[in-house]
Amino acid sequence: MEAIIEPFRRAHASGNGYAVSALLSPVAPPDDAGRLYDFYRASNEQQIEPEIRYALKYSKSSRISPEESNAWTDIFVLYWKAVGEILAVEEATNQGRLEDRIWVAVYDAWKALTDSIQRYVSNGTLPFWAVVCMYHAATNLRKFAIKADEQLASTKGNVTFNSGFQDDVVDSLAKTEKLEEAARLFNRMFALCLGDRNPDLNESRKWGTYYMANLQFKTYFKLKTINLSKNVVRSIEAQPDLPPLPLFPKAHQVTYKYYTGILAFLQEDYAKAEVLLTEAWSLCHVAATKNQELILTYLIPCRLVAKHNVPSQDLLARFPGLQRRFGPLVNCIKGGDLTGFDNALLAGEEEFVKRRIYLTLERGRDIALRNLLRKVFIAGGFEELKEGQTEADRIRRTRITLAEFAAALRMDIGGEGSGQVLEDDEVECMIANMIYKGLMKGYISREHAMVVLNKKGAFPGTGV
């Protein structure tokens, strides 16, 4: 028992939440792989409570108040029980026979631990730094909840039928019961951090706010209840005395900006999304390539739609994952290759949909189309020089027949073997769209079957 209580005493005396939290980890530290096992084997159901109580209360150096000592006793006893379940899973996995509810048992035990930490933090029995223990426990709870749900879904299917006397057959489609339960607990923790009234900011639990917010985002995304994230953002924005975000640990900042950026992205507020994601990108730790890649996964489509920018080859080259994901699309956009674009989008559809960027990337087709039409315009050459004009006055031919554009489009998408017939009206429709979206300047004249483009800046932002 001393093996865990002794380091606890030291960590507690120095007020180091991270050290205490490390002692309550569901994973053994790398330098002491047998710690969980030893801790669990050191006692039994009957003995664990009195032993811990004794160890905490009657140590010479202890300066822990009786209430707090009781709280820690509770926590360590629950931790001991949870460790028992975790070891059972480990053993079962090693023997290759996972029982039906084994992860649920882990989840339940860990939930009891997390609940009690939350309770003791909430009623002020534990010192402020215990917030760290709380949110680390919560992070692990999320992992166990997901495991438990997976196991439940695989054993009992995912549809619950109505057993009462409601009107309809199906009760719920819940397959994430445990994670939902955990999400409610996270919400309580979040409120607890956000609403702390301790005037001394050094001892405030407010410092846990963004961590909990991020955990909630993560959970809601997993639960596909993304809308609930907005409540979190709203409560944070409505809290006037929260310290400014730059004062929080960078890790909290980056994650928070990343998630709020995605929220804006999903609401199609690309300008806001771009700002937030760019901030997250620039704050992100240099070595955290996985996180950088995640940020870029949203930042690239965002810039493509908002600014018609495509990422440089250099940038993509740094991230093989992104190169694979976006490389073909970017090349097709640049080359005005609509068929290639469609194929690349189709090839990556599954992943794009999973990342929720499919519907945004799809709009990149406009840029590809613009580039194709621009090629037609450039191929149209220049007007004849009139008298008195010099080479510098040379202007491009701005009256281009619809047939020319149609020919280009048919070469691309309506070509032989594509099975698509491109009607003239559809070509007009595509050009009308370009004009409407401001990607092209000019108008269509139906009588003359002609597109009349502006003499200057027919394709804004592209140098022609």
Binding site: V169, L266, L359, R363, C429, A432
Partner: protein, 536 residues
């Protein structure tokens, strides 16, 4: 008199049974004013709270029920009356009073007797199965209680709690209530101060229920509403009679009727039934079994084709769905019921009902029960196009399998989606005209919006177009319709007629910013709000 039996059951410790002969003890004025049940004449229809004129057949039935010749020994007149009331109320609620063959319908006392027999048999079987498990009193006496449970509301309420003065008051109040079943004789007898003290150990159990009832009696609701509510619960309570005696013996002290352990098995043979939201487990006699429901579905389909009465049809479908639910029927038939209801709701633009069906169908398809998952997946896609719900659309796209995507309906819906995403109005309106199944009805929901969008588009890209061009591009039926549509946008001034040598040309002049701003304004307004009803 069923007193000893019932008491014996209520209090298995026989010591509580009064060891004296019941004597009509002190009664309040009100109580004695109440005619004794034996002498009570048939309640005249006017005495009913609902001042409805009962059909003569019903009157005759009531008359017969009270004829002394028809009395059955062992069935008290109070029980008979309660049953009679229930029967009439039940059919009255279903609006079935006129159709029922009252002359041949069994008398209430006969019903009670039959029910007793049935339950006694069940109890004997139960007793055999529970021997030795501590529920030794699952005997006929208990069975008897189960049978009389329809009267138990009154019976239970007659037990007084230690706060006798208040209790009595409220029970007197109940007695005042003309519709309340006349209290059986033992009730009055036992309801003395003495007895209250003696029996309150068991009375305590009913205290909560008693309280509830008293509270209900004193509340602000008017008598008629209360009456209605009470009737509802009474019907419901007798419905729970179908629960086996052993289940009820454990739950009897709870005021809540026990939840059915398993599905109800319906016995109702009528084809039509109005929807009525359940607040308690249903009675088997109100629920139609599947073979009847199948006929109902055919009837409803026929009626819908002939009469197109949506309110009636929707109501019938809801009761049909309810019957399926309470009987836990989940099969191909369930799927077809939901599918047909969803289609009808779509046709009538009832999105609330449509969404309910769609949710259910989603889960039912997941069970691989047949049906038309492709068609309804397509509707879901179109619906998300309508609601502009990008998040849900994304989730839906994530769910689709390659096999789904090549189904013609799904492919059509996906094409609609992509055409709109790319602003390709030309292709969109072609797809609108070729929508399979009920897809057109769903697309009607956003067709106006997309026309405005296309017009905003065209007004920026063209200087002038022929009216016919708009008619063709925007999927209108005729030039007249196009013109009308333009007029509703306030754009009628843009239309210009020109007589040339080739005939009259109708053009729409779009030069300048005025036209563009008109359509842009309407477009923005149309996209701003999407009314979402009953969405999941």
């Amino acid at each position: 008199m069923s007193l000893p039996i019932t008491m014996g059951w209520r209090q298995p410790m026989a010591s509580h049974t009064p060891a004296y002969n019941p004597v009509p003890a002190r009664q309040t004025l009100v109580m004695s004013a109440q005619p004794l049940p034996q002498q009570q004449a048939a309640p005249s229809p006017d005495a009913k709270p609902k001042k409805a004129a009962w059909p003569p057949a019903v009157r005759a039935y009531v008359q017969r029920a009270f004829e002394p010749d028809n009395a059955i020994e062992g069935v008290s007149s109070a029980e008979m009356e309660t049953k009679l009331k229930q029967t009439i109320q039940y059919f009255a609620e279903l609006n079935f009073l006129d159709q029922l063959d009252w002359a041949n319908y069994p008398l209430p006392q006969t019903i009670v007797q039959n029910e007793r027999k049935a339950a006694a048999a069940a109890a004997v079987a139960a007793a055999a199965s529970v021997v030795g498990n501590g529920y030794g009193y699952a005997n006929t006496a208990q069975a008897n209680h189960v049978l009389t449970s329809n009267g138990s509301a009154n019976y239970i309420s007659s037990f007084s709690s230690p706060k006798s003065s208040k209790k009595r008051k409220s029970s007197d109040m109940e007695a005042l209530n003309p519709d309340d079943g006349t209290p059986p004789p033992w009730r009055k007898t036992n309801n003395t101060a003495f007895d209250t003290r003696e029996t309150h150990s068991s009375g305590k159990q009913e205290k909560r229920q008693k309280k509830n009832e008293a509270a209900g009696g004193n509340s602000k609701f008017n008598q008629a509403d209360l009456e209605k509510r009470k009737q509802r619960f009474q019907t419901a309570k007798s419905g729970s009679r179908s629960t086996p005696p052993w289940a009820s013996s454990r739950n009897d002290s709870d005021s809540e009727p026990p939840l059915p352990a398993g599905p109800v098995v319906g016995t109702n043979m009528t084809l039509e039934k109005s929807y009525f939201r359940l607040t308690a487990p249903p009675k088997p006699e109100t629920v139609r079994p599947q073979h009847v429901l199948e006929k109902t579905l055919e009837l409803l389909k026929k009626k819908w084709r002939e009469e197109k009465n949506y309110n009636y049809t929707c109501n019938q479908f809801k009761s049909l769905r309810q019957d399926l639910t309470v009987q836990h029927i989940k099969n191909a038939f369930t799927v077809s019921v939901y599918e047909i209801h969803a289609r009808i709701a779509l046709e009538k633009g009832d999105l609330g009902e449509y969404n309910q069906c769609q949710t259910q169908l989603r889960a039912l398809y997941a069970q691989k029960l047949g049906g038309h998952p492709g068609e309804f997946t397509a509707y879901r896609i179109l619906y998300f196009v309508y609601t502009c719900n990008k998040t849900d659309m994304n989730d839906l796209l994530a769910e689709l399998t390659p096999a789904d995507k090549i189904r013609p309906e799904v492919k059509h819906a996906l094409d609609v989606r992509s055409a709109l995403a790319l602003g390709n109005y030309h292709r969109f309106f072609r797809l609108y005209l070729s929508a399979p199944h009920m897809g057109g009805y769903l697309m009607d929901l956003f067709i106006k919006r997309e026309r405005l969008h296309a017009l905003a588009n065209i007004s920026k890209a063209y200087i002038s177009v022929m009216l016919r061009f708009l008619t063709d591009e925007l999927g209108f039926d005729s030039d007249g319709e196009t013109q009308e549509f333009l007029a509703t946008c306030g754009a009628q001034d843009l239309v210009e007629e020109k007589v040339t040598e080739k005939g009259t040309q109708v053009r729409v002049i779009l030069r300048g910013t005025a036209a563009a701003s008109i359509f842009e304004h309407h477009r923005a307004a149309a996209f701003k709000t999407v009314d979402i009803k009953g969405q999941i």
